[in-house]
């Protein structure tokens, strides 16, 4: 075709050997995101992730809602990890409005955040099992997170999208004999997830599929700016809960898990080790929590801040989640920008998948702890 092409389009010549596969948004082997994969026989020549399928314009929509009405809106990027997504936003707005959060609220926030981290990680593990063709690895995590979802539901009133954190504390206090209930569930949950070792992590077939697949060295991980479990699986000891502690994490003893290998096996094991660590954190927080006290600062009807900007970040299930808020003395924020761990890890995908076998693609791609909805916002 020699006619003039409209600007932005280009003609791609089809190669004889290289086949272009659209592992599309509606495919049993991908999340809701498109991967344009060029394959030469069984080896991937190049991979071009195409996010944006679930883009909603959440950051723009946040400019039309005031600080309180933004709560149900901004928790939607990751519905089962909603407390962690709201955490940096609440911390930022508290700094803008100059609010002081009571102690009991801080401990309850930490408990809710850790419960959400476990719930999210179980769901991620379940989908990982599906990608590898292991149906038991789907059923067990999906069933075992019910204990924690039940605990969260008694705390917050909803199973997912809790809308629990507000600037100034949390929305409601916990019911009676809450500590007992949470500890029972967390104990049973920990007993259950220790069973995963025999059937999943020590399973030779799983090891053969994920070991040495998509190796990310330590220097590359730091250079590409990865975050979260991907970073810790490459041997870098970086966790925002210990490096930049927020709320009451200074008083809690958080052990950061790292593995040196940097392959998919390590990346799939780190979130599981993190879950075991979360159970310990919840136990410590329940023990150290003040037995009574207020949980929320009373706000004026239309809270406004000055002309400031603030950036806060938090360790969510996928990595560091930051929220940058610009306020201009109006009830609505001028700009809310969320920097999510999934989007920052997206750069690893074309880098790691080049030269991989096609059979390894689901194992590597999902092991980067990528949540498409959050990356697209």
């Amino acid at each position: 075709m020699t006619a003039q092409l409209p600007p932005g389009l280009e003609i791609e010549k089809l190669d004889e050997r290289i086949m272009t596969l659209n592992v599309g948004p509606q495919h049993p082997g991908s999340g809701h995101m498109r991967l344009i994969v060029k394959v030469d026989g069984d080896y991937i020549v190049s991979c071009d992730p195409d996010p944006g399928y679930v883009h909603r314009g959440e950051e723009k929509m946040a400019e039309y809602r005031n600080y309180i009405t933004n709560i149900p809106h901004l928790e939607r990027p990751v519905i089962h990890d909603s407390c962690n997504v709201l955490y940096p936003y609440c911390l930022g707005v508290e700094e803008i409005l100059g609010l002081e959060v009571p102690e009991r609220a801080k401990y309850l926030r930490v408990i809710a955040s850790e419960l959400n981290r476990c719930v999210y990680t179980q769901y991620w593990l379940a989908i990982y099992g599906i990608f590898l063709g292991h149906s038991t690895m789907f059923m067990w995590p999906a069933g075992d997170r019910e204990f924690l979802i039940d605990a969260l539901e008694k705390m917050t009133g909803a199973r997912v999208t809790h809308a629990y954190f507000v600037p100034g504390g949390i929305r409601n206090d916990v019911p009676a004999n809450f500590e007992d209930m949470v500890l029972r569930r967390v104990d049973y949950f920990e007993k259950r997830i220790k069973e995963y070792a025999a059937i999943f992590y020590d399973n030779p077939i799983l090891i053969s599929r994920t070991r040495d697949a998509g190796v990310l060295s330590r220097e590359d991980a730091i250079r590409l700016g990865t975050t979260g479990s991907t970073l810790r699986a490459s041997g870098v000891d970086f966790d925002l809960r210990t490096k930049e502690p927020y709320d009451v994490y200074e008083e809690l003893d958080v052990k950061v898990n790292t593995l040196k290998a940097g392959d998919s096996y390590a990346r799939s094991k780190i979130p599981w080790l993190d879950m075991l660590e979360s159970c310990n954190i919840i136990r410590q927080a329940v023990q150290k929590m003040p037995k009574s006290g207020s949980v929320r600062v009373k706000l004026k009807p239309n809270p406004k801040g000055g002309n400031t900007e603030v950036y806060k970040r938090v360790e969510s299930g996928r990595g560091s989640l930051g929220c940058y808020i610009v306020s201009d003395s109006k009830p609505e924020p001028y700009r809310v920008k969320m920097s999510v761990g999934s989007f920052r890890n997206l750069i690893c995908m074309p880098y790691l998948l080049k030269g991989e076998k096609l059979g390894n693609m689901p194992a590597v791609y999902w092991s980067l702890n990528y949540w498409p909805v959050e990356a697209d916002r």
């Binding site: 049993p28 063709g133 149906s135 067990w140 069933g143 399973n203 076998k357 059979g359 689901p362």
Partner: protein
């Protein structure tokens, strides 16, 4: 009433019953009875007490129990019974149906959930029946550019080959096998060699991308695992000296071959899992990568036939494993003998003594054989179903590596062990054991 479902009217309901009865009677008289007549024309009617048993005579004698028994007994010795009921298609289909249900429930229990639960009052027993009726009622969609004759024929060919495989396996002693071939094992492998061909034919004729990839993967997998399958059986053949499956079972009346050839049994088991396309080797049907592999385009009863064929193959492979390595139907005699007074004197019910000449129908030895055979086959099927809940799917290059390197190596080791045992005079003809 809901806005979607129509209201119930008694008149319409009675009309529908009458309609169905009418059409049922019409079909029976115009199609059913001529078919039965034609069938009886070709069947060999037995001769009982010097008289040829025509259908009318058969129906009249059924009224008298004492004359029923010889009739039923003679029917059980015919070839037709062996093909259709035991140990042929009927028995295998029953075991296959049971396997499907047990697989779903066992997998569910392993995954801490209930499987089928609501269909049928107790734990979903009738689920399979409702699935069968559902598949019968679905529309069969053929892709537009598909190769229609081959596409229609492929599931039927699949079931036919699976049934041919089933017909070669003996289920009890004294000739209870549909086809008593002297070169039993070679016939078995000849029939197994058809399966890759049928798979590739059905996936090629569907003319679509996903069946194509699934068919190629199935071809690679089945072809590369046939060689270890055959080689692992060679050890048993060397030690027994015969290829006939019934004689192989009879040679295991003291020791089972798995005691002396465990490596061969393991290699056979792994190769069997690959031939059956079960997890961890279910690449041709990998759900998360290619939608359903070579089965994608089959819908309705064609899918039902393919599933039936798959599970018939599963029963046949498990039965072959039992026959070759686990001693077939050999086992201690636990079946109680038929009470002798009933044979001689009959059953006494008050003033009447009913005599049943010709009882027992099946002798005690045969029932004992069947009992042990079924127990062992159920055990092997349990171990085939278990990896489905425990292992993920294996990658294709690892699969080919295992099939071509590791399993062939192990089966050669097995053959050397068998040769060593034979030449050391331990086993085989003229051996110590």
């Amino acid at each position: 009433m809901s806005a979607i479902a129509p209201k119930f009217r008694l008149g319409y309901f009675l009309k529908s019953i009458l309609d169905n009865t009418f059409w049922g009677i019409i079909l029976l008289t115009l199609v059913g009875i001529p078919l039965v007549m034609m069938l009886l024309f070709y069947l060999e009617l037995p001769v009982i007490n010097g008289k040829l048993l025509s259908p009318y005579l058969a129906f009249t004698t059924l009224a008298d129990p004492s004359r029923q028994i010889p009739l039923i007994k003679s029917l059980m010795q015919t070839d037709f019974f062996r093909i259709a009921a035991f140990p042929g298609f009927g028995f295998a289909a029953l075991v296959a149906a049971g396997t499907i249900f047990v697989e779903r429930k066992m997998l569910a229990k392993l995954q801490l959930r209930v499987g089928p639960f609501y269909c049928g009052k107790i734990e979903g027993i009738l689920q399979l029946m409702s699935d069968g009726i559902k598949l019968l009622s679905k529309e069969i969609i053929i892709p537009a550019k598909a190769d229609k004759p081959i596409f229609w024929a492929a599931p039927v060919l699949f079931v036919a080959t699976a049934a041919a495989f089933v017909s070669l396996i003996p289920a009890a002693g004294n000739g209870w096998v549909v086809a008593n071939v002297d070169v039993g094992i070679i016939a078995v492998f000849a029939v197994i060699g058809f399966f890759p061909v049928i798979t590739v034919l059905s996936s090629w004729s569907a003319n679509s991308k996903f069946p194509f990839i699934g068919g190629i993967r199935a071809l690679h997998q089945m072809v590369s695992f046939e060689i270890p399958l055959i080689l692992s059986v060679l050890g048993v053949v060397i030690l027994t000296g015969t290829l006939n499956l019934t004689e192989i079972v009879e040679s295991q009346h003291t020791y089972w071959w798995i005691v002396f050839l465990p490596i061969g049994a393991i290699v056979f088991f792994i190769a069997m899992l690959a031939e059956l396309e079960r997890i961890p080797f279910d690449l041709p049907e990998a759900e998360s990568e290619i939608v359903a592999g070579w089965l994608t385009e089959f819908s309705g009863m064609m899918y039902g036939l393919v599933q039936l064929g798959s599970y018939l193959k599963l029963y046949a492979f498990a039965a072959l494993f039992v026959v070759l390595f686990l001693g077939g139907w050999n086992g201690p005699n636990v079946w109680p003998p038929f009470p002798a007074e009933i044979i001689e004197k009959g059953i006494e019910m008050g003033p009447i003594t009913a005599r049943f000449p010709g009882l027992p129908l099946l002798d005690q030895q045969m029932l004992n054989d069947v009992l042990w055979f079924v127990i062992k086959v159920v055990g092997v099927i349990f171990f085939i179903l278990l990896p489905r809940g425990v292992f993920p799917r294996i990658r294709i290059d690892l699969l080919l590596h295992i099939g071509w390197y590791k399993l062939i190596g192990l089966s050669f080791v097995n053959i050397f062990i068998a040769l060593g045992l034979l030449y050391a005079g331990v086993l085989g003809p003229g051996g110590i054991l």
